[in-house]
Symmetry: C2
DNA sequence: CAGTGGTCTAGACCACAGG
DNA sequence: CTGTGGTCTAGACCACTGG
């Protein structure tokens, strides 16, 4: 009945969460509007808005003008994976990072690559393959094509000491991208680099990034067998 | 020099993004503080705060009191994957959803399961395996253990028409969870259910959820070969 | 049309951390 | 100590959309 006077948006959020978890507000239920909650909590409506908006972004509430705010019937868990520079990923795990350039060539790309990058089939693109190591063991294999038409400076880099991964992030902006996660069997070449049996199950992360309407790069990162990407929800 | 008068936080954010993409503000650079930007844009500081805070949440800016706001040197891409009810996932792809319960038994669990769930090794837990179908083809195999000590109602469900996946989401709250993504080779049993060759590379999603200090369920979802989880960054 | 969330404002105080 | 972001407030207007 009586509710502790809340004054910060976090405390409002905490109380709202408590009611949801305690099933006082059940999945699908309409909850009081912002003005009523503000009155109940003794705070400004802005504060309630901040608390509820944040929960809605997390998928736990569904808000619509005029229709009000409901507890999500089947909350969609949002797993946020941080895709950092591979070197940092390794170092954050407390391991020693190593890097080996495996291949670097400027050439006409396979059609599925030039199509993905939206460039003419006759354009020479930069193909880079590199192995990332963790404590001297293979950690991930990076297979990348760079749109040399949009990023001509890449042709001047040898990528022997700085990975394309890092160089691009520091030097070439992108405005949007697509990313996909899948499992793939190791090819003979993959197996050779990653020092694992052929056809091992590998976690693959494929990325395609764009700078406005110009593609920047398409890359596949294959992680060594057993690799996990973790997060909290 | 002259900047369009911005009045909404989205327009402020857009202009800030433009400057970052145009390299007017380079990775690692300190940008003007909120008060200065508010003055320049002719809006309230609150509005600038909203725009910058949102970019910081996305990893593009790094903000620290007193130290100010910097453009992230190596922005960490945050890929947000929506983990929805599998039925919705299938239906959203425009396919017909199907469901087959493969196994349901209450028994003493393997020790790594009872350990993960934090229950005594002698406790009877509920083990459920089910196949999710898309247009009659195997889509995903769900292998789940439910903490029957914390969720005794689960023992009353037969899970023949409603999957444990959906039943739990609608009936049992959770406050936190862990999730991990990996690639695994199909076991003989996996291959049988998913109708694929043994040792196929399968994308695996492992989840463990908690309601305060009580574990709720641990589940592994194995997707049929070739499955991709996609998102934008 | 009217109720709801979305946002902006101007001012204020506070928490934190750099110097 | 002081500059910076973090937040709260009270009030206002607006945009969307359900009924």
């Amino acid at each position: 009945m009586n509710v502790p006077t809340a004054q910060t948006w976090q405390s409002v959020q905490k109380e709202v969460l408590r009611r949801i978890h305690a099933r006082e507000w059940k999945p699908g239920d309409l909850i009081p509007n912002e003005a009523e909650l503000a009155k109940e909590f003794g705070c400004a409506r802005t504060t309630v808005n901040r608390a509820l908006r944040s929960l809605a972004e997390g998928g736990l509430l569904e808000r619509r003008r005029k229709a009000g705010t409901r507890v999500a019937a089947q909350p969609v868990a949002k797993a946020t994976l941080n895709i950092a520079v591979i070197r940092h990923e390794v170092e954050d795990r407390g391991a020693r990072y190593g890097y080996q350039l495996a291949l670097r060539e400027a050439r006409i790309a396979p059609t599925h690559i030039s199509a993905a990058l939206g460039v003419g089939v006759q354009e020479r693109l930069l193909h880079v393959m590199a192995l990332h190591l963790s404590n001297d063991a293979p950690y991930a294999l990076e297979d990348r094509w760079i749109n040399a038409v949009h990023v001509p400076d890449a042709l001047k880099q040898d990528f022997r000491s700085v990975s394309a991964n890092e160089w691009l992030l520091q030097n070439v902006p992108y405005t949007r991208g697509e990313i996909s996660f899948s499992a793939k069997p190791a090819s003979a070449e993959n197996a050779n680099y990653l020092n694992c049996p052929e056809k091992s199950a590998l976690l693959a992360v494929d990325r395609l990034t764009w700078d406005h309407d110009q593609s920047v790069t398409v890359v596949q990162v294959l992680f060594a067998p057993g690799h996990q990407m973790r997060t909290r929800i």
